[in-house]
Amino acid sequence: MFNWVPAYQAFEISSTLITLLIVLSVSTLFECGIFSLAVGGFVAIGGYSAGVLTTKTSATPALGMMLGTVLSAGVALVLGLVVFRLKGIYLALGTFAFAQLVLLLASNWELTGSVNGIYGIPPGLGLGGLVLAVVALCIVLQLLRASYRGRAIRAIRLSERTAEALGVHVARYRLVLFALCGGLAGFAGACNAQLVGVISADQYGFSLLVTVFAFALVGGTGHWLGPVLATVFFTVLQQVLGYSGSQWEQFAYGVAVILVVALAPNGISESTPWRWTAARLGKRRPARRASLPLELHSPLGRDT
């Protein structure tokens, strides 16, 4: 489907789409008020399990991808059980410690190639597959957003205890979402390993975290489209200015985050211009004139 795209561009676009998957796994957790720094750990688990499985055995890349996804989700589930006893900054620190542990393990374990990492990982999903994955994810995020569960997730972010008092099983929502986003990050990690062919522990460290968080924070929690636009914008900027990989890259993210924090503290998708545009683009139903004064005396029927 995308054979006409030159190899270099295909690689760059694929790599951006993979970053986008990781960013969405982070911003979806933001949506639920979970500030987790574990994402690097899950991406690494996905990358390494795909890498190890497909280089040490004769398993197909697809199998490697599945293992990466499932393993990350499983680890996220267990981690969530432990780490959600912490709140706020302590949760962030706990998850960061986990990510560091994963990297420490990866760079010291023979199975994961210790400091040399793994090379010669056979390619997996092509550009077409990644486009499909991103589109599918966006559809799911939109469905979630429009559903009562999406509303419950936002409610948890805004006030956990109040959501709980209204019957939202906060602990379960957070845990399930954490596991799903962990699986998503693992999937992205596997795709990345298969795209690049070479992985080592240092690529899942702090700079990945900075990049992903810059995109997610700039995008904001208002709508999944925010992080998508932020990712695309930064990548294009990177290509145009050609600063990718240089020290200017991190500098640019730093400036962008400061600007966003100053001008639109909740990210572009919760900024006033965004809301303004959304209100005019969206087919807002006119406020329904409740024709109800008549029923005023039997309004709370459990029969309704």
């Binding site: 469905l143 979630l144 429009a146 559903s147 009562y148 569960r149 999406g150 509303r151 419950a152 936002r154 409610a155 805004l158 006030s159 205890r161 109040t162 959501a163 709980e164 008092a165 209204l166 019957g167 939202v168 099983h169 906060v170 602990a171 919760e270 807002r284 406020a287 329904r288 004139r289 409740a290 109800l292 004064p293 029923e295 005023l296 005396h297 309004p299 709370l300 029927g301 459990r302 309704t304």
Partner: protein
């Protein structure tokens, strides 16, 4: 003691402060029980204990013959318990309608066939939410951002959201604080209506007129225990209540100045 909601011998201390001392209280079906008392008497602590936010040191809370003392907070809504908060707890920067619809969460989840992504503005639910809004005189405000609304209106949104749970027991923590007389009269009338449909209401408020108009019984809470309990007219006439309640109110206002 019988009733829908029974608080039995509940004691709760925070450090050296005994917020609740062996407190017992009951709310029957369709009954509105008032609770008054000076600030710091333990009214909000009691509501927090009932709703599982704060764990009692001793004693138990029984709802519908089921001991809910150790039941997790999120399950209480499914047992028909809803509350409002003394310090407003709205979902900020969210529409009035969405705030109320969060209260419908369990009803969404209970719908069959169960659907992972059931649309959050299903017409039936939206209609019910609009009914509730109309009931609280919020009809035109459904799409407004709650954060932009004046205080009294925000209070009403919170009441609407609690009613959206379709509670059998409703705990209202100073629902009319900051409201005009007309607004609080309307809320009083609404409380009577809700009780008329069989819901038990525990009403914590500082407004004696509201208590007298809506409650069949009122308890006076002083230093964590019920000092007097009975019909509002009787209770408010008791000299010891007058001195305890009004006395400390004066003290409080003194300290404030």
């Amino acid at each position: 003691m019988t009733g829908l909601l029974r608080v039995q011998e509940v004691t709760k201390s925070f450090g050296g402060v005994r917020a609740l001392r062996s407190l017992s209280l009951g709310v029957g079906e369709g009954e509105v029980v008032g609770l008054v008392g000076p600030n710091g008497a333990g009214k909000t602590t009691l509501i927090n204990v009932i709703t599982g936010y704060t764990r009692a040191d001793e004693g138990s809370v029984v709802l519908d013959d089921r001991d809910i003392t150790r039941v997790r907070a999120h399950l209480l809504a499914s047992l028909g318990l809803a509350r409002t908060f003394q310090t407003l707890q709205l979902f900020e920067n969210t529409s009035v309608l969405d705030n109320v619809l969060v209260g419908r969460h369990l009803s969404f989840a209970a719908r069959r066939p169960s659907m992972w992504f059931r649309r959050g503005n299903a017409s039936g639910q939206r209609e019910l939410a609009h009914k509730l809004l109309a009931l609280l005189d919020l009809a035109g405000l459904a799409d407004q951002n709650v954060s932009d609304l004046p205080y009294g209106v925000r209070r009403r949104v919170e009441i609407a959201r609690a009613l959206a749970v379709e509670p059998r027991t409703l705990l209202l923590d100073e629902p009319t604080a900051g409201m005009s007389t007309e607004e609080s009269d309307a809320v009083g009338e609404l409380i009577s209506q809700v009780a008329g449909r069989g819901t038990g209401v525990l009403l914590v408020d500082h407004n004696p007129a509201l208590i007298a108009d809506t409650c069949s019984r009122v308890g006076v809470l002083v230093e964590g225990s019920v000092m007097a309990m009975g019909e509002p007219a009787e209770v408010f006439a008791m000299p010891e209540v007058r001195s305890a309640y009004l006395g400390s109110e004066v003290e409080v206002s003194h300290r404030a100045t």
